[in-house]
Symmetry: C2
Subunit: 453 residues, 2 copies
């Protein structure tokens, strides 16, 4: 009975608050879906600037574009936060040709891309050892010396979430080259980290273990990977691989930071962001142009509806997520150095597809609070808070301050078709799906701003 | 305390049953994601046969393809169910040209498609009355006589679910021509029912009111619609529209029906289906090739894992959903005539995108039971049962027997970019998204077969 009485007292208050929340979220949603600029801004970023790896002239151009665009879209102030970034360049066209199949003169050209951060040596010609995984590498380590190791390890199609598959295969890209170099390999090729039906190769960052020779490393398109694997079962073959990746000296990069000043807690920060850099071979539309324009769109919409946040909301375009995370790291370092108080940080770096929810690094009480908001969010698409981790750029805030951080979870099925491939271009982003991502993020930021976390 | 004791007694049983269900659903999922044929079958249907409007030679070819394909993919038996279908033909290329803008000689060709079932009259040239909606038609009815009425009513971008927008604008396509003819219009053009950023026009069925003249009717691509609307604010103009749609005599069509025989209740039926017909201007990939191959894939996977259904499961490729619903109607009529007992029917006719849930016509008890299965389904993508209605082809079963019927709810945001437009082709279907639709449907059918509904 007590419970019932409490409910009678509390409910009218709750429903009044809830209905105000519903109204504000609807206002944000209508503003974004009617007048959203995210799609047009993405067109500018991808078509006028294009691929923008840290250290490149395009990245510098993107920083200026980001600053001006945030100024034009409602920021109370915009500033640049300097950080040193690595400057890797591809150095030319990557090539791989299979030669001497069955001791014949036949050749087959593969569609490949050098892995980011890999060091090229011009052309390496060697026999190929095609293996499935690291276990096979260990079993056959005596055969590795002088060869190019090909890792065929692909996505497990039975994983419903492709990000699980990416986690499982990621080590072949990150650590595969050095693990093969340890046994004397002269080059490494990996199956691209994708389940796409297309043959585009997918680049992405690798990292050398300084204890072993720094051998060249490439990713091959999935259909060519199938062919290589088939061939390896039938005959021995050699491959020549040509790459010219190298590092120029570290250079100055910038996080672009805009703020909407808090009315009640101006010294407490909520961060929303995406990363401004991308790989060099595409337009970085889904990775992470969509995160960049989500960020700007949320700010624009809050300003447009006249929303005055309680906390200061920072809208951050991070530098160098792809091959160094220097921007995200710098942002947390400086926040700590200045003794800032941070409340929550949310990133969009999983694409501009229809939102399904958010993935959060947070404690049980925070997850409970977030999940209590699902009735307000689910009409817009977000139906779950998972604990699969936060975004890469906001994770340093979690490690530094112990605050909850999160990432938008859009529908993930098409993401790895485009991720780090030439096909990651504007044309593969859908306007309404993109805008709905901004709607759901804006709603969550509004709730965190109003109720804390 | 009683509750706790009950829980202790019931839980082990529940969790044993649940774990068996989890295992079977995982088996179905793994089979479909590893060995699924749906994508290759869709390629056959779209590329070897193509558009297949009821009555067309392509539709007859699709019936034969469906029969053979179901026989090859595990059916206990396959048979054709005859039904008369309408036979509308486009009769040539649809055209619309704006002329005499501002009394000048300037012309502008629009990208248009005649609406399905509309009757062409060759070329009609008349002044255009551009209006927003039916309310404006009523206000300005005196101005209609002798003119071509253009309805500019588009999707409301603030609707999160595009099917809501489709419901709101559908009457302009279905009833718009006759409502204008009532006041003396000589032709009608509608804004295509889409929010696509592309300019493809979208056809689809209209229906004349026999009380008024049967005037020609076309849909215009959305970018051209924007231009027409802008122009109408600035000046008067004439338009010539050329269409040649007409009906040939009704002809024989077929539902293609395959069965997996029930082991416990062979005389009780669960139906799974999609519609085999499509519009003539595209490949009918999403509408409804994906529903067709979902249907076949579920049967194939059940057979492949050795699942023996309790009830007889019917896998039905329906005839003539698009411009008559004769197939779905016939199926229910014959079921009633034969005194069949039907348990549940599920359709896939909303695309092959990532599943988000199911939409059901059912009573409260049925909805409660369905929702109790969400923990088993949500790992595969389906997180909700909504009550937005079942599929068109299975609705006659609901009306006839009062049984629950439903439809797969895939992510809807891209559907109306393709729906009834030239762009509804194989290349716009994503393999994994397609397969996941079959996974979620197969899981639901398994649960209904095992536990009833």
């Amino acid at each position: 009975m007590k419970k019932i009485l409490l409910a009678l007292i509390v409910l009218p208050f709750l429903s009044k608050a809830q209905s105000a929340d519903e109204a504000t979220i609807k206002q944000l949603s209508d503003e974004i879906l009617r007048n959203g600029k995210a799609y047009d801004l993405l067109h500018q970023l991808t078509k006028d600037i294009g691929g923008r790896l840290a250290g490149s002239p395009q990245f510098a151009k993107a920083v200026q574009w980001g600053k001006v665009t945030m100024e034009q879209n409602g920021a109370d102030k915009v500033y640049l936060q300097e950080c040193m970034v690595p400057h890797w360049v591809r150095g030319g066209k990557d090539k791989a040709v299979i030669t001497e199949i069955d001791k014949k003169k036949a050749t087959q050209t593969l569609d490949v891309l050098a892995l980011g951060n890999s060091l090229g040596k011009g052309t390496v010609l060697a026999e190929v050892l095609a293996i499935d995984d690291f276990a096979e590498l260990e079993r056959r380590k005596e055969e590795v010396k002088g060869k190019i190791v090909y890792y065929n390890h692909g996505f497990d199609p039975t994983n419903i979430k492709p990000f699980i598959s990416y986690g499982q295969t990621g080590p072949y890209r990150g650590a595969g080259p050095s693990r093969a170099a340890k046994y004397g390999a002269v080059g490494v090729m990996i199956r691209s980290l994708t389940e796409s039906v297309a043959n585009d190769p997918h680049t992405g960052a690798m990292r050398y273990n300084d204890s072993f020779p720094k051998i060249p490393a490439i990713a091959v398109g999935p259909r060519d990977a199938d062919a290589v694997w088939e061939l390896s079962k039938k005959s021995g073959f050699k491959m020549s691989m040509t790459t010219n990746g190298h590092f120029l000296p570290d250079t100055i990069g910038h996080n672009v930071i805009a703020e909407l000043k808090g009315t009640e807690f101006p010294d407490q920060y909520i961060t929303v962001g995406g990363h401004l850099d991308s790989w060099d071979v595409n337009e970085g539309a889904m990775d992470d142009g969509t995160g960049v324009v989500h960020t700007i769109e949320i700010m624009r919409a809050m300003k447009a509806i006249g929303y005055k946040p309680k906390h200061t909301i920072r809208f951050v375009l991070f530098a160098n997520e792809e091959n160094g995370l220097r921007g995200g790291t710098k942002y947390a370092e400086e926040a700590k150095a200045k003794g800032e108080k941070h409340v929550f940080a949310l990133e969009s770096d999983a694409g501009g597809f229809t939102p399904r929810g958010f993935s959060i690094q947070g404690n049980t009480a925070q997850m409970t609070k977030l999940r209590s908001w699902l009735p307000l969010l689910s009409p817009y698409g977000a139906f779950e808070f998972t604990t699969d981790g936060g975004g890469a750029d906001v994770s340093p805030l979690n490690r530094t301050f112990g605050i909850p951080v999160g990432e938008l979870n859009p529908d993930p099925q098409r993401y790895f078709d485009l991720h780090h491939a030439r096909s990651d271009v504007f044309e593969n982003v859908h306007k309404r799906e993109l805008l709905l991502g901004a709607v759901n993020m804006a709603a969550l930021i509004y709730l965190v701003d109003k109720y804390g976390l």
